[in-house]
């Protein structure tokens, strides 16, 4: 930059000059309240980066326990690791400070202590404030994980009357402390000024380190669950609205309902093949590191689980949902149909869950992937079953909020389930055969019956003149929109399990269970009765506003559910299914 003349000071005068003028200094979003973080807390910085400079003059990183360290890696590498000493421009440590502690620290950092700290790997050993000392080690001497220490550091207070002492220890390659500790005294940094601006101790860009911006390599591999909206794993393809049949099903259901890898590099229609089950399997077909910098902006926006084009359009054909004629009608429907239906569904799914073989006894000789697939399928069915139980609770909550005085818990399963428009089918206890799975998918299909079952409640509660209280509306929306996940789970299961269905015998993933007798399943049925009873009591108490009392029952229900699961497994091992009801054996 030798030809660069000294910077001169110019003042913009007219509007274009003022608009285009780059003001020296920090940009407007230096303030938290002026940044995107105002709307999406956490999106603009990693708060851990504040605490890495909690002690003046030192910079730490929170290091986690490595997942699978190579044998030659140094031991005990986790903890609050001192990255470097950085006292030169630390605003807490001005050269000319009259404070004794500042001068002591400066002397230490610029002298022997500084030299010592630059040799070997140093970690935070303990901190002390207000007479309390926390040592970052298990009883057996294993250092804490860095993130755990970070939580303790977060609890330190700043202020002139809150001195902090810290000790640093050096660990050698074997993870053994090999020299004397260094103890330092100071204060915790105040991360923001009174005006809300971050301390000047932080370098530009320091606070955003570790975030995966879409245009950075990290984004491709980002697996954090914090930003599912920015980084969905699987999505459905965009379909034209007029590609729907009058039944609400797509003309080409395979195309419309196949889950695709959002990061797939082939965005042409031929690239729209179903995503595989694990990240590793999908990896080769995804946008690569070198591509993501260029292609991130081509990643489509996803609305309602579906990729959208340039403009998101609401389906103009979507049949409008009319509210119930009266709130009483809605209550009646909730009581007689919706809540009871959720109960039936969760029991059917539980039954199907127990029909899945034990992954530990899977024949991995013949079916190398069976164990993994079983683990996946079992977890998925259970999640959906629990989801339906949650729905049942929400439906009950709607009832008690709407009619607090007349509330009675609804925990009796309905005898029928919807099947297509205005039709019903009998409830049925079935193992998770291909046919049963196909039926489950049908029931949970987005835009299908379940998906829209609550739409009428939403439309009713949306009427502000009748229901000024927005909480109920929000609750109904939550139930209404929660079903897509179930559909996704079952669809994935179908893909995963199909290969075991050879057409002969029971597929390898199933146990040949049959609905047992009440005598055979007495223990399980008693537990089931206890669970229902406990829930009824808990809901009633909650309806009366007695939350703490209700919690006691909820806890008991949880414990019983655990026992119930064990019992269900034991019965299933003997090929006995639990007879939640007696009719409709399939």
């Amino acid at each position: 930059m030798s030809d660069q003349p000294g910077q001169i000071r110019v003042t913009p005068r007219n509007l274009t000059a003022r608009a285009a003028y780059k003001v020296p200094g920090n940009p407007g979003n230096t303030r938290l309240d002026g940044s995107v973080g105002n709307c999406f807390p956490g999106l603009e910085m990693d708060v851990r980066n504040l605490d890495r400079r909690f002690f003046p003059g030192l910079v730490f990183n929170a290091v986690r326990v490595p997942l699978s360290p190579v044998p030659e890696a140094p031991k005990n590498a986790q903890g609050f690791h001192l990255v470097f000493v950085d006292y030169f421009y630390d605003p807490m440590l001005p050269d000319n400070s009259p404070e004794g502690w500042v001068q002591t620290l400066l002397e230490a950092y610029s002298g022997d202590i500084g030299a010592k700290l630059s040799q070997g790997r140093w970690f935070l050993s303990w901190v002390e404030q207000s007479g309390k000392r926390i040592t970052f080690k298990e009883e057996d001497g294993t250092p804490y994980d860095g993130l755990m220490i970070w939580r303790f550091i977060r609890s330190l207070e700043h202020g002139d009357d809150k001195p902090v002492s810290i000790a640093l220890e050096r660990r050698n390659h074997e993870g053994i402390v090999d020299t004397e500790q260094v103890v330092l005294h100071g204060f915790r940094r105040q991360y923001r000024t009174e005006a809300g601006v971050f301390s000047e101790a932080y370098d530009p860009g320091e606070l955003t380190q570790s975030l995966c911006n879409p245009w950075s390599h990290d984004f491709r591999d980002c697996g954090c669950h914090y930003w599912p909206s920015n980084h969905p794993d699987v999505v459905m393809a965009e379909v034209a609205h007029d590609d729907q049949l009058p039944s609400g099903q797509s003309k080409n259901p395979i195309e419309a309902e196949t889950y695709l890898d959002w990061l797939r590099s082939d965005k042409s229609p031929s690239g729209n093949v179903a995503a595989l089950n694990t990240v590793e399997q999908n990896r080769p077909y995804q946008i690569d590191h070198y591509q993501v910098n260029q292609m991130w902006s081509e990643l489509p926006i996803v609305v309602e689980g579906r990729e959208t084009g340039e403009v998101y359009e609401v389906d103009p054909e979507m049949p409008g949902v009319e509210p119930y004629d009266t709130p009483e009608d809605m209550v009646k429907d909730l009581k007689t149909r919706l809540a009871a239906m959720e109960m039936t569904l969760s029991l059917q799914y539980l039954y199907a869950y127990f029909s899945l073989a034990d992954p530990e006894t899977a024949d991995t000789q013949k079916w190398p992937t069976l164990k993994d697939d079983l683990i996946f399928a079992r977890r998925s069915v259970l999640e959906v079953a629990i989801g339906e139980m949650t729905h049942m609770r929400w439906a009950n909550q709607l009832l008690w909020e709407l009619e607090p005085d007349d509330y009675e818990p609804i925990l009796t399963p309905s005898e029928t389930l919807p099947a297509g428009r205005c039709k019903t089918q009998p409830r049925a206890l079935r193992p998770l055969t291909a046919e049963a799975l196909a039926d489950f998918i049908e029931i949970e299909r987005p835009g299908g019956f379940i998906d829209r079952a609550y739409a009428q409640c939403v439309a009713t509660l949306e009427q502000e003149d009748l229901f000024p209280e927005r909480r109920l509306y929000a609750l109904a929306v939550r139930i209404d929109t929660d079903g897509d996940e179930h559909f996704l789970r079952f669809s994935q299961m179908k893909d995963v399990l199909a290969k075991y269905d050879t057409g002969e015998d029971t597929p390898a993933y199933l146990r040949p269970i049959e609905v047992g007798t009440e005598a055979q399943a007495k223990t399980a049925l008693d537990l089931y009765a206890k669970v229902k009873d406990g829930l009824a009591k808990a809901y009633t108490l909650e309806a009366e506003g007695q939350f703490e009392e209700s919690q006691t029952y909820i806890q008991q229900v949880r414990d019983d559910m655990k026992l119930f699961r064990d019992e269900g497994e034991a019965l299933a091992a003997k090929n006995i299914g639990i007879p939640f009801w007696t009719e409709g054996k399939a």
């Binding site: 003349p5 001169i8 110019v10 007219n14």
Partner: protein
């Protein structure tokens, strides 16, 4: 590559040294001596200097001409004939070199339809009536106006009207009509009394000034929604601008503007270099009167100056001098589309007709006329404020007035600094960033 020296223009005022960054028409205050320092640098040094001030970003204006611009404004040559015989008339006696004739209703109607067809709801379309002398065809003006109002209402558009007249045929009832539709009325005047008459004899050779005055007065009195302005074409014969300006201001015109006579069909009364120097001096005197008035918080309707102040304040930067051939076209009596009113019946500016809209010649025009393609404009510091000069004059006479244009803009930049210091409220701001 445009040399760095053509990227900036330095000027001073009593408030210090200033710099116009040509790109984006940005005005900065700079430390004293910056201009000399800049002049003494070699090219790489100058480039580095501009970089250090952040003036090396993506340019505000690139080489790409605008695409698919909708037609927003049309001027209708409702009467290609004139009752006067101005010695320098661009329309050569109102006939544009073609036969004298009136515009037919069908053509006027098609013009309105064209504007409506290209406008989305909420947009403002503009109709200008010109001639010749448009009031020769008053019936058509009225009928077209009514039709345009009706069409605009039916399509959710707003519509603005303007008319440029020599004033001799104005009738009292015109005032009511123009007022009702909020017309911008421009009266072409060439000075006061005799001076005017010499330049604007009627066809019988008698002067027209007094007749005009009598006829304009009712309009001036009725101004409310309507705005009545005077446009003075400056020739060597009417070079007493401050007096003319003052007189017209006193008469109650809403705005008064001067334009130099640079290209007339017969070469008569064109200004030469000395005349232009003289005109510049007189314009600056008018500008000083304007400045004094604004300092006192008075409105002074000198339109050249008022427009320049607003444009400099906003940093207006344009790749063309005007909208001719972009969003604006002139319509000839028989429905031909031309780059502007001055190009009517001129092959150089022909671009289709109102029925089918502008044709391909318009893209070529916009590509050809872009100020970046014009020499010497592409290295002139005034290029984005001037836009390269009136196409009509440039094509027919070249650029004889560049020193005048730059001289005027240089003065306007200085005046802008003075006024923005003294009266930030004039620019709509309570206070302005303190100067260096």
């Amino acid at each position: 590559m445009i040399p760095p020296a053509a990227q900036v223009h330095f000027f001073d005022s009593q408030h210090g040294d200033h710099m116009l960054a040509v790109d984006g028409s940005r005005v900065f205050d700079v430390p004293a001596g910056t201009a000399d320092q800049f002049a003494s640098m070699d090219q790489p040094g100058q480039s580095a200097f501009l970089r250090s001030m952040g003036l090396d970003g993506a340019p505000f204006i690139d080489d790409t001409p605008p695409q698919d611009m909708p037609v927003r404004s049309l001027s209708l040559a409702v009467a290609q004939k004139c009752n006067l015989a101005c010695t320098y008339c661009y329309a050569a006696g109102g006939e544009f070199g073609g036969p004298a004739r009136n515009m037919e209703w069908e053509v006027a109607k098609a013009s309105v339809n064209r504007l409506v067809a290209e406008a989305e709801p909420g947009v403002r379309i503009n109709l200008a009536y010109l001639g010749g002398e448009p009031l020769i065809n008053r019936d058509l003006v009225q009928r077209t106006t009514d039709y345009a109002v009706e069409q605009a209402q039916a399509n959710g558009l707003s519509v603005g009207f303007s008319i440029t007249t020599n004033g001799t045929l104005l009738r009292p009832e015109d005032a009511a009509f123009f007022e009702a539709h909020g017309f911008a009325v421009t009266i072409s005047l060439d000075g006061v009394g005799e001076v005017h008459d010499k330049l604007r004899p009627n066809r019988g050779g008698r002067g027209s000034f007094d007749t005009i005055l009598k006829r304009v007065e009712p309009l001036l009195a009725a101004q409310h929604r309507m705005q009545v302005g005077a446009r003075v074409t400056v020739t060597p014969q009417n070079m007493n601008l401050p007096e003319t300006l003052d007189r017209f201001v006193g008469m109650g015109f809403h705005s008064i503007g001067f334009s130099p006579m640079l290209a007339s069909p017969n070469g008569q009364h064109e200004l030469d270099r000395n005349d232009l120097d003289e005109m510049l001096a007189q314009m600056i005197r008018c500008g000083e009167v304007f400045e004094a008035a604004v300092m006192q918080g008075r409105r002074y309707p000198f339109s050249n100056m008022a427009a320049a102040m607003q444009e400099i304040h906003r940093g207006t930067h344009r790749p063309y001098a005007c909208g001719a051939g972009g969003g604006y076209f002139g319509v000839s009596a028989d429905g031909g589309l031309f780059a502007c009113h001055r190009f009517v019946e001129d092959e150089a500016g022909a671009m289709g007709d109102v029925y089918d809209g502008p044709d391909l010649r318009r893209e070529n025009w916009l590509a050809d006329r872009h100020v970046h393609t014009q020499s010497p404009c592409n290295t002139c510091w005034a290029r984005y404020l001037c836009g390269g000069g009136c196409h009509h004059e440039v094509i027919h006479r070249g650029r004889p007035a560049c020193d005048y244009i730059r001289g005027w803009l240089h003065y306007c930049l200085q005046a802008y600094v003075r006024l923005s210091e003294a009266r930030p409220d004039y620019f709509g701001a309570p206070t302005l960033a303190a100067s260096a």
